[in-house]
């Protein structure tokens, strides 16, 4: 404990107004924000390394230079890209989880609004970063972006301010804004983090089912102190996140010849430069996180309407929701309309993204738009309003139920698009099938949540000490095994060539070691701290 105490004293950790945490909160559900932060930190570090090599006057060739010539350059570049991807996905998960948990309510309104602003900044940063590659896709994405901006009267003055001499191959402005946006996210993050520590994490609905859902100072005092337990837990999450950010893109680098539809989602490599003959043969699509906007742009030729549907209305809704939803109730069935809006937002986001991927740039007539967007709306509204009310105060939105809902809504959206694209008996059957599953999953969101809540309760009742001891013993053995594997992998890292085809193995191996480290720390946390 010597080292730990040393830090505790030097850093004055006990005096910091950090949230003391009750036992049941050591569950990823409550720590989604730290996953986003982990992805953010990783992306910043790797971005700073890239900054040593990137030359904004020759965007594409310096990207190629980093991939081909810089030692482990492709590892850094691909994981930088996927760090950003992870940050976007995790930010969405974090946001929707808190939306369904009602975490935007009093007193956390400001925390929520800052979070929404950070999401916007993150998407903006990602767009700018994507444009820095200067490949055919980035150039066409910028062209589309410029087209949207310039068709709104008065806004076109921003194009040179934002993009500078982009068309002439000078990415200096884009790089500068990319970094400025990151700095802004960093500032807001500090604010967001301290607000979160100040209010403390949202208590479970079992404990507080009405806003303001905060623990009082007295309750708080009984919980586990922040240091070192929260730190240990956080470390395990951070290393796990970093591990996957390194592992996935570097493994994908070995995947060749993806079908076009998967390319926007899975390909970490840049496309050809915009003026090479190869560029004529690729379908242009925007980065996946803007596919939904790209599709909405096909709905109407009026840019103002487009901006209202795609950007302004959803954004205003998210920012204003703490003030619209004034009821103190946190349970989903006591704010059915907001529950429905949340589900619809997720469904539409995914649906439109997939649609944009399948039919990039194809214009969609109004009748078809209605066909695609009306059914989920009806189903969701009906589903939400037939949710049994007696499960009220116990219904919670946990990642599992949201995940199930996500999957079924993806399937539903996909089936619907296929049905419209090629109506046949098969697609009709598939569509009916997936619609049923989708309805069921919506209707079930509350019972599923209820079941899991019950399970949690049973876990909380202390198990037999002997059983617990056995589990801890197993955990200890696992840590030892992880240690052996980590050492083997680490020694392997030394023989991987720094550039060329094999260099991405470095990212895979390092990612695995990080995952092992994260897993080991989490097991350690279990052995040392868990009592239940």
């Amino acid at each position: 404990m010597g080292v730990s105490d040393w830090f505790r004293e030097r850093l004055g950790l006990d005096d910091l107004p950090f949230f003391r945490t009750p036992d049941y909160m050591y569950n990823v559900n409550y720590w989604l924000g730290s996953l986003v932060a982990a992805a953010f930190i990783y992306t910043v570090i790797s971005g700073l390394i890239l900054l040593l090599y990137y030359n904004p006057e020759a965007g594409y060739s310096s990207t190629e230079f980093i991939i081909q010539k810089v030692p482990y350059g492709s590892v850094i570049l691909y994981s930088h890209l996927y760090g950003a991807y992870a940050m976007i996905i995790l930010a969405y998960v974090h946001m929707f989880r808190n939306y369904f948990a009602g975490a935007y309510k009093k007193p956390r309104e400001l925390l929520w609004i800052i979070g929404v602003i950070m999401l916007v900044l993150t998407l903006g940063t990602a767009f700018l970063g994507y444009s820095l590659i200067g490949d055919a896709l980035a150039t066409s994405a910028v062209d589309v972006g410029e087209g949207i901006i310039s068709s709104i009267p008065g806004l076109s003055i921003f194009i040179p301010i934002l993009f500078g001499n982009y068309d002439a191959g000078d990415y200096g402005r884009v790089l500068a804004w990319h970094i400025i946006f990151v700095a802004l996210i960093g500032l807001l993050f500090a604010f967001h983090f301290f607000l979160a520590e100040h209010y403390g994490m949202m208590p479970s609905k079992k404990v507080k089912d009405k806003a303001p859902a905060v623990y009082t100072k007295e309750e708080w005092q009984k919980f586990n102190p922040w240091w070192p337990r929260n730190f240990v837990y956080m470390m395990s999450l951070i290393f796990l996140t970093w591990g996957f950010i390194l592992l996935i893109p570097n493994a994908l680098a070995y995947l060749n010849g993806l079908p076009q539809q998967l390319n926007p989602f899975l390909n970490p490599k840049p496309a050809p430069p915009p003026n090479s003959p190869a560029a004529a043969h690729i379908t242009t699509y925007p980065p996946w996180f803007f596919l939904f906007l790209y599709k909405i742009a096909d709905f109407t030729s009026d840019v103002v309407i487009f901006l209202f549907i795609g950007v302004i209305i959803p954004l205003l809704y998210l920012i204003l929701v703490p003030f619209i939803d004034r009821s103190p109730y946190l349970s989903l069935t006591k704010r059915r309309l907001f529950t429905a809006f949340g589900i619809l937002m997720i469904t539409y986001l995914i649906q439109t993204t997939i649609w944009g991927d399948l039919t990039p740039g194809v214009e969609i007539p109004i009748a078809q738009q209605v066909m695609v967007y009306l059914p989920p709306a009806i189903i969701t509204l009906v589903g939400v309003f037939v949710m049994p009310a007696k499960t009220n105060n116990k219904a919670i939105a946990n990642p599992l139920s949201i995940l199930i809902l996500l999957v079924t809504s993806i399937l539903f959206g996909g089936a619907l698009v296929t049905l419209i694209a090629s109506p046949s008996l098969l697609t009709i059957i598939a569509f009916t099938l997936f619609t049923l599953v989708f309805i069921l999953s919506i209707k079930n969101i509350s019972p599923i949540a209820l079941k899991i809540e019950k399970q949690e309760q049973t876990i909380i009742t202390p198990e037999k000490p002997r059983n617990r001891e056995l589990k801890k013993k197993i955990a200890e053995v696992l840590i030892s095994i992880l240690f052996i594997f980590a050492v083997i992998l680490a020694s392997q890292l030394w023989v991987i060539p720094a550039t060329g085809y094999l260099s991405n193995l470095f990212g895979i191996d390092l990612g695995l070691i990080f995952i092992m480290l994260g897993e080991a720390i989490s097991l350690y946390h279990y052995v040392v701290y868990r009592r239940d």
């Binding site: 390394i49 040593l52 090599y53 020759a58 594409y60 060739s61 190629e64 081909q68 010539k69 810089v70 030692p71 482990y72 350059g73 590892v75 850094i76 200067g134 150039t139 982009y166 068309d167 002439a168 191959g169 000078d170 050809p272 430069p273 915009p274 003026n275 090479s276 003959p277 190869a278 560029a279 004529a280 202390p462 801890k472 200890e476 840590i479 030892s480 992880l482 240690f483 980590a486 050492v487 992998l489 680490a490 890292l493 030394w494 991987i496 720094a498 550039t499 470095f506 390092l510 070691i513 990080f514 092992m516 480290l517 080991a520 720390i521 350690y524 052995v527 040392v528 701290y529 009592r531």
Partner: protein, 325 residues
């Protein structure tokens, strides 16, 4: 350790030493006024309170175990650090290998035998292609002749780049009759490749081609330009109608292209009759930047993003005869 003997060597463990220290610690904490054990609370809350109390004050895991586990964790962390060390090479700037020049490549046929310059057909309607300087970058190989099919000596000339107004020197033809030339087969307008862009021998530069279907159509503008420039044959791109003059360094005859076709510098070895590609002149095949202003330096095409160098041999292929009649 306190043990209990059950006869015949069977022993039952009662109290491990570590358990003993644990109890001692717990007992002293319970007596300590700062952390006094609240019996009333224990009665009302039961076991939960005891667990909580023990954990807070003594810790459920004894020191030895904790230390061992910690050392393992630090071991894995150390392994991660050791593993990252080779990765720190990312900070060492790589020595930039400037692409110094083009490879010297012998032109060979599909079975690997060198092409003989004197056996190249004059005015061949076939599209004859070789890749140079990078794989995936096609170039035409043309033995130019006049309208009666006799080889024509191609003079060195200055070629103008209409886009920038600048000029560069085209070295002229090679081979026994100085009639063999090679031009990039990537249209400088938007990058169309054969068969949409190809050589039209003199017999096909006539009004009949106006009504032919792709890829052997000619535009009226192209025909007119050929007549005005007094050239019997031309290179034409069906995509948008760009026309190039093969007799004068691939210069622009009609737009929409604003750049001539880059030429490959050929070398002819008169003793063996072999042909070599040794470099390029003109603008870079792939313009830098997206505004389409080409680099003045054709070595820009040697960037690895366009493929790998073809090496010291490159295969000449006769792809097809695009003319239907």
């Amino acid at each position: 350790m306190i043990k209990f003997r059950l006869g015949k060597g069977e022993e039952r463990e009662i109290l491990d030493y570590s358990n003993l220290t644990f109890f001692r610690k717990l007992a002293s904490k319970m007596r300590d006024p700062k952390t006094r054990f609240d019996v009333k609370e224990f009665v009302s809350k039961g076991e939960d309170y005891l667990f909580n109390y023990t954990n807070k004050n003594v810790g459920s895991v004894d020191e030895k175990r904790r230390k061992f586990l910690k050392s393992l964790i630090f071991g894995i962390a150390a392994a991660a650090v050791v593993g990252i060390i080779p990765g720190v090479r990312v900070l060492v700037p790589p020595t930039v290998t400037v692409t110094t020049g083009f490879p010297k490549s012998l032109l060979v046929d599909s079975s690997g035998n060198p092409i003989k310059a004197s056996s190249l057909p004059v005015n061949s309607p076939y599209i004859i292609i070789f890749e140079y300087p990078m794989t995936g970058e096609p170039n035409f190989l043309i033995n130019l002749g006049d309208s009666s099919g006799k080889p024509v000596e191609i003079q060195p000339t200055k070629v103008v780049v209409p886009q920038t107004g600048k000029t560069y020197d085209f070295p002229g033809g090679v081979g026994p009759n100085k009639s063999i030339v090679a031009y990039s087969a990537i249209c400088q307008h938007l990058g169309c490749t054969p068969p949409y862009i190809h050589f039209y021998p003199p017999s096909y530069v006539n009004p009949r081609q106006l009504t032919a279907s792709e890829p052997d159509q000619l535009t009226a503008a192209a025909l007119l330009a050929a007549k005005e420039a007094n050239v019997p044959a031309l290179i034409h791109c069906d995509c948008h109608g760009s026309t190039y003059d093969p007799y004068h360094g691939g210069a622009v005859l009609t737009g929409p292209t604003v750049r001539p076709l880059p030429s490959v510098i050929l070398e002819w070895d008169s003793s063996t009759d072999y042909l070599y590609a040794i470099g390029s002149v003109g603008v870079a095949t792939y313009p830098n930047g997206s505004n389409g202003i080409p680099s003045q330096d054709p070595t820009d095409d040697l960037s690895s993003s366009f493929g790998s160098p073809v090496g010291d041999k490159t295969t000449v292929t006769e792809t097809e005869n695009p003319f239907s009649s």
